[in-house]
């Protein structure tokens, strides 16, 4: 069943046209991976879904409802979480305060909190610290933790593994696998090895257009296609 469907999305910033008719469907459940080179328009696509561009032409349908004209906060309240590329950490707030703001009621579900601590022990350690003082990777963990502290229907994640140590990437992969049992994840990723291990379906964006959609299994098998679309000259570990 289709959870999120994007049709003919066009975005231009100033005189630059960034997306030209991006169209793809994200089925419910599992991890959907969006691949593409730098500047292809992946971030822009995610931002448009959550409503951070002023009304892009084209439609975004979530659970059969057109949300493209809704305000960002209303889209979020439909059950969509967003982990932006720059992480969107509130540096002036403590880790705890950052987390509180990600809950609707201001109260934590204790079980979920415990799981977050397990996944990212550093967060427990720095719970009462100002978030700006976290290391780059710790900030990334906090950003992901915020998205999973409440149950959601869809999580949009922009390059979560950037700057993470291998062991953490590994842990995060586990976490995503677990979360994706109950929640759909739309993942933008450069780390192909990571993407490959998680993704069920996928799409490739290039130069503001969707140039390929399909299952991850097929794509992973077809190295020629990978080479053409992603120029994987440095193969991931």
């Amino acid at each position: 069943m289709t959870l999120l469907s994007i049709k003919n999305m066009d975005v231009s910033i100033g005189q630059y046209s960034v997306l030209h008719g991006v169209t793809f469907d994200v089925p419910e459940g599992g991890v959907f991976v969006l691949l593409g080179r730098n500047g292809a328009g992946k971030t822009t696509t995610l931002r448009s879904i959550i409503g951070l561009w002023d009304r892009p032409p084209g439609s975004v349908t979530f659970r059969g409802e057109d949300v493209s004209s809704l305000h960002t906060s209303d889209i979020a309240r439909k059950g969509i979480a967003f982990v932006p590329e720059n992480m969107g950490i509130f540096g002036g707030l403590t880790v705890a305060e950052n987390m509180v703001l990600a809950t609707a009621s201001g109260k934590f579900d204790q079980a979920r909190l415990t799981r977050v601590y397990e996944l990212f022990p550093a967060l427990e350690q720095f719970w009462d610290k100002q978030a700006w003082s976290l290391s780059g990777g710790q900030k990334q963990m906090l950003a992901v933790a915020r998205a999973i502290i409440e149950p959601r229907d869809l999580i949009l994640i922009d390059e979560p593994t950037k700057g993470l140590a291998p062991s953490i990437i590994h842990a995060m992969g586990e976490a995503f696998r677990e979360i994706s049992q109950t929640t759909t994840i739309l993942l933008v990723e450069q780390n192909f090895a990571f993407a490959k291990s998680l993704g069920r379906d996928m799409a490739v964006i290039d130069d503001g257009r969707v140039v390929h959609t399909g299952t991850m299994a097929e794509f992973a098998a077809d190295t020629a296609l990978q080479d053409r679309l992603l120029s994987l000259s440095v193969e991931g570990a």
């Binding site: 906060s73 969107g88 509130f90 707030l93 509180v100």
Partner: protein
């Protein structure tokens, strides 16, 4: 942070003790101290709105003083209009007139704040320079509007009889109006403290200033919050103006502008965005002004500036800045 900042909260006490020995005459000291404390709370009323908007939303609102002026004039007009109640022999009618005047100022301030946020400030969040500029433009317009509405001649502010005069205690005189101002200021402080520290609103606003988009992506309507804070800040300014009008009894449209420098100094000395700091700054400034004015009048004018420089050198972010 908290324990380290704790030390600065005894500053006013230390100042008062030193002053006691320098002044010598206990009755004068008591007069000056009580007057200073209540003046501090009146300044706090005017400054708290600025500090709130400045510290929480990171908006430097030079138009703040316009709300102070508006509050003063609106209250004065209401009091003049309710002259009958004010002149009546019933304390109840007197108080009703007073409450009506203060409420009118608050409502006007809030409404003005709404308009101000929507039209003036909204486009320039996060851009200090344009904030300074656009709010200055708004200040010019607001001052002209006051001039056009109330004219340039000073307006007399009647005040209820029960707030006139002074209580004589030993050799000291304690003005009734100042005691009243003290109470109002203390109540406002308590309310603000609760709002910012016991509710989630303060957090959300601080987060929103840093990254508006992310707060929205978390599902909050940051717009409404910002408007709310702005309305609150403006309403406080107007209330401060109304209280000040009652103190001054004769007001001109320049009132807000005249108070602005001291209000800025207080906010800076206190530390941005912290209500505690603003209160502290206001009291320290007011006490210093009274003591220095008594001990060495020549220095009185410079005392604020010197105080500000000294405090900034000692603590570059003010006495008790909001933790950032």
């Amino acid at each position: 942070m908290i324990d380290r900042a704790g030390g600065v909260f005894v500053l006013p006490v230390a100042i008062a003790i030193v002053a006691f020995f320098l002044i010598g005459a206990p009755s004068s000291w008591l007069t000056l101290t009580v007057a200073g404390l209540s003046m501090g709370l009146m300044i706090f009323l005017m400054a708290s709105g600025l500090s709130l908007v400045f510290g929480l939303m990171d908006v430097l609102n030079f138009g703040h003083s316009a709300f102070v002026s508006f509050g003063a004039f609106v209250a004065a007009s209401v009091l003049a209009w309710l002259g009958g109640w004010l002149g009546a022999d019933s304390i109840i009618l007197n108080s009703l007139a007073l409450i009506a005047a203060l409420a009118a100022a608050i409502v006007f301030g809030a409404a003005g704040g709404w308009f101000f946020e929507r039209v003036i400030v909204k486009p320039v969040y996060k851009d200090h320079l344009r904030q300074i500029l656009i709010t200055m433009g708004a200040l010019i317009v607001a001052e002209q509007l006051i001039l056009a509405t109330w004219g340039g001649t000073p307006v007399n502010v009647p005040r209820p009889h029960f707030l006139e005069g002074a209580i004589i205690l030993g050799g000291s005189s304690l003005e009734v109006y100042r005691l009243f101002a003290f109470v109002v200021g203390a109540l406002v402080y308590a309310g603000l403290y609760y709002l910012l520290n016991k509710t989630r609103i303060g957090l959300l606003i601080r987060a929103g200033v840093e990254n508006r988009e992310m707060v929205e992506a978390l599902g909050f309507k940051i717009d409404r919050l910002f408007i709310g804070v702005f309305m609150l800040g403006s309403a406080l300014a107007a209330l401060g103006g109304a209280m000040w009008a009652g103190y001054e009894t004769l007001i001109t449209p320049a009132l807000g502008a005249e108070m602005m420098v001291i209000v800025f100094i207080v906010v800076i000395i206190g530390g941005l965005g912290s209500i505690q700091g603003t209160l502290l700054g206001a009291i320290v400034v007011a006490l210093m002004q009274n003591y220095v004015g008594y001990l060495s009048p020549k220095l009185a004018l410079a005392s604020n500036m010197i105080l500000m420089m000294a405090i900034l050198l000692w603590r570059p972010y003010g006495l008790a800045p909001a933790v950032k």
